[in-house]
């Protein structure tokens, strides 16, 4: 996917000026947060489960090679195929080859962020396949030719009135006068359109929330059941998943599932949790003839053993963005690549480079709310700070900022000089600001005073006043 991350500031301004988006974000900020809080309150062992989930993933990451090979063995034993993809290009090619191998015409898809990451839809369409997203949110943004703005609610930036307009424009087979004001009318129409697509589909592509090493099973969680239809009805089921989705056992997946939906939507469990192991066996009533898993690296193995390894615990629940005040202000598209919010602030520079993704770890107040709610206890602000340090060390930080830091650092490590300089500066500012107690404009502080007044200092510093009264040192 093309990135606009280097234009984060412009993207943010556009987002802030978009009234529909702001209206949608206002709703989001309340709903997800309240539901997660209720789910957490209803489960006394929630925080203990978070520890357990963290430990499971840490263990897995320490032995990732072992568990991936075990997974491959088990998939193969069940009659499926595992394809190792180093990067997006290899993954796309593997999927296209599988589709061509069965002379597919139509491909249906369950929701997958890996698909976004490797820009699969465009590649499949270019190769001549019809591609249909079946998750309602994904279907909406496919019609709108947009990308997801949230990892579990891809069309959260779209109001239902906009969806109705899109449906009228695309579903020309229906009566023009039909009512489309209620969500259930929109859902019924999407269901009617998609039902035939499932039946016509040759290849069903899904992501995976977990890959289970002991059984060679892939797991997806959905609320619409679209994933089940996508992977059960066509001849071929292709799972696209990244390396770090593997866990050792069914028990491990079950443990992490207990924190996943609660953190994401506040549900105890998603409506559907589907386990797939291999293709249809002779006695099975249904299922695909072929079962393939594309195992994507695309930068993940490079994070192992670094200060960013903890990020590979991420289960993509979206709690970090639901609770992020920056995401809440600008929404997902401003982040400019696949993963928005705090997870994106770490994943984006990890996958496309700090030179491209450097804005994102900077665009945080380090309020810490993301780390507070992360079910996998990922220290997100700490990793963003690592990226800031990397930027600084590589000389990528803006020159004006470097100059300011150098000057401040120079003065702050010389207390006498600091005292003298601050005495003069605060004396001056104090005199200028005394009449009103604040400044509406101030040279060099335009970033502040464009939006708010700048409180004036008292005039003399604490240190000088303390000396004047003979305070103890």
């Amino acid at each position: 996917m093309q990135t606009t991350t280097p234009q984060f500031k412009e993207n943010a301004r556009t987002a802030l000026a978009n009234p529909q988006l702001q209206q949608a974000l206002t709703k989001m900020k309340v709903g997800f947060v309240e539901r997660r809080a209720q789910a957490r309150a209803a489960l006394p062992e929630f925080d203990a489960l978070r520890d357990q989930a963290r430990d499971i993933k840490n263990h897995t990451l320490e032995h990732l090679d072992l568990y991936l090979e075990r997974f491959e063995e088990k998939v193969t034993a069940a009659g499926g195929h595992v394809h190792w993809a180093r990067n997006a290009e290899e993954a796309r090619r593997q999927v296209i080859e599988i589709c061509r191998g069965v002379e597919a015409k139509s491909v249906t898809k369950g929701k997958s962020m890996i698909s976004e990451e490797i820009a699969l839809n465009g590649a499949l369409e270019e190769a001549g396949f019809e591609v249909v997203e079946t998750d309602l949110g994904e279907y909406i943004i496919q019609l709108r030719k947009e990308h997801p703005s949230h990892i579990i609610a891809p069309a959260i930036h779209v109001l239902k009135e906009q969806v109705a307009e899109d449906f009228r424009a695309h579903h020309i087979q229906f009566d023009k006068a039909r009512p489309l004001t209620e969500p259930r009318q929109l859902i019924a129409e999407a269901r009617q359109v998609l039902r035939q697509k499932y039946l016509d589909s040759d290849v069903g592509i899904t992501g995976a929330n977990f890959l289970i090493a002991e059984t060679g099973t892939s797991v997806i969680v959905t609320n619409e059941g679209n994933g089940d239809l996508t992977q059960t009805l066509p001849k071929v089921h292709v799972v696209i998943a990244s390396l770090e989705k593997v866990v050792p056992t069914l028990d491990d997946a079950s443990a992490i599932l207990r924190v996943l939906a609660r953190s994401a939507t506040g549900q105890e469990f998603s409506a559907y949790t589907t386990f797939s192991t291999g293709p249809r066996r002779p006695d099975d009533p249904d299922g695909p003839e072929q079962y393939h898993v594309i195992l994507l690296d695309n930068g993940r193995s490079g994070m192992l053993g670094t200060e960013y390894q903890d990020m590979l615990r991420c289960i993509r629940c979206g709690a970090c963005m639901n609770h992020c005040p920056v995401y809440g202000a600008v929404g997902g598209h401003a982040y400019g690549w696949v993963y928005p919010g705090p997870m994106g602030a770490v994943l984006t520079p990890s996958f496309i480079g700090v030179d491209q993704g450097g804005h994102l770890p900077n665009a945080s107040t380090f309020c810490g709310r993301c780390a507070e709610v992360c079910p996998m206890r990922i220290p997100l602000p700490k990793m963003m700070r690592h990226y800031r340090a990397k930027e600084y060390e590589e000389g990528l930080a803006p020159p004006a900022m470097r100059f300011g830091l150098d000057l401040w650092g120079f003065v702050a490590t010389k207390p006498r000089l600091y005292r003298l300089a601050t005495r003069i500066a605060m004396g001056l500012l104090g005199r200028l600001g005394r009449k009103r107690g604040r400044f509406a404009r101030l040279p060099l502080a335009e970033g502040w005073t464009r939006h708010r007044d700048f409180p004036a200092p008292e005039g003399s510093t604490f240190q000088d006043q303390w000396d004047a009264m003979g305070g103890a040192r």
Binding site: P325, L405, G409, T413, G437, P455, F462, Q463
Partner: protein
Amino acid sequence: MTDPSSSFSHADGAPDTSDAAPTVGLFVTCLVDLFRPRIGFAAVKLLEAAGCRVVAPRAQTCCGQPAYNSGDNGHSRRIAAQVIDAFEGVDYLVAPSGSCAGMIRAHYPELFEDDPAMHLRASALASRSYELVSFLTDVRDMPLAAIEARFDGAVTYHDSCSGLRELEIKQQPRRLLSAVEGVRLSELPSAEICCGFGGAFCVKYPDVSNKMVEEKAADIVATGADALLAGDLGCLMNMAGKLKRQGAPTRVYHVAEVLAGMADGPGIGEADIGEAEEDAAPAPADT
């Protein structure tokens, strides 16, 4: 200052249980030192009321957080080393800021992970460093009767992020405020959501920061409180600056000023004298 050996008895961070008054080194913080010294004096008054002897080590400037959060670990280490030197002889370091105290408690040891000798010293200082209000309640167990203050009106309280999440400061200021005569607490529903200050963030991403502080200011005004309180001057200057720009009548104080009975003067962003009427309108340019 006390005998340096006395600091070893508290190196584990355990509360001082001896009868002798502990020596508290006041880490004034750069913002309080430069912009609002009266918060520092309020802190001194409260610490003395809690039975402490207060010193203000001379060689302090800043905690280094601006450099640390900008990825400049070199300057961060040099500034941290200066603070560690300056406060080595005191029983406790106390700062009227959760952000600076969090920097010292949570991040100083991280800064010296590759330097065992400094790591030891940083960890020792970290374990006896506290934010003011949590020190008064959690370490000194300050009796509510020792708070002699009056503030007439409804106040609302913003929980600054570092204090809340790095130091678990939530009930402490509310407990002490309950001892202030005349005050009513009207809770802010978004008390735990960042105000958009974030140090350099507010000038690096001014438009995003503005959106955050705009929502915060609207929430503050909606509580109907006469005054906004918090424990960090950075956040307070941000919120006060927005409230003033909007012409909101809400006054803004550091919680220490109210607890010390020193909130009878101008609030943050207000002039010294007789400005009540002018405050109702957005200020024109001063420069």
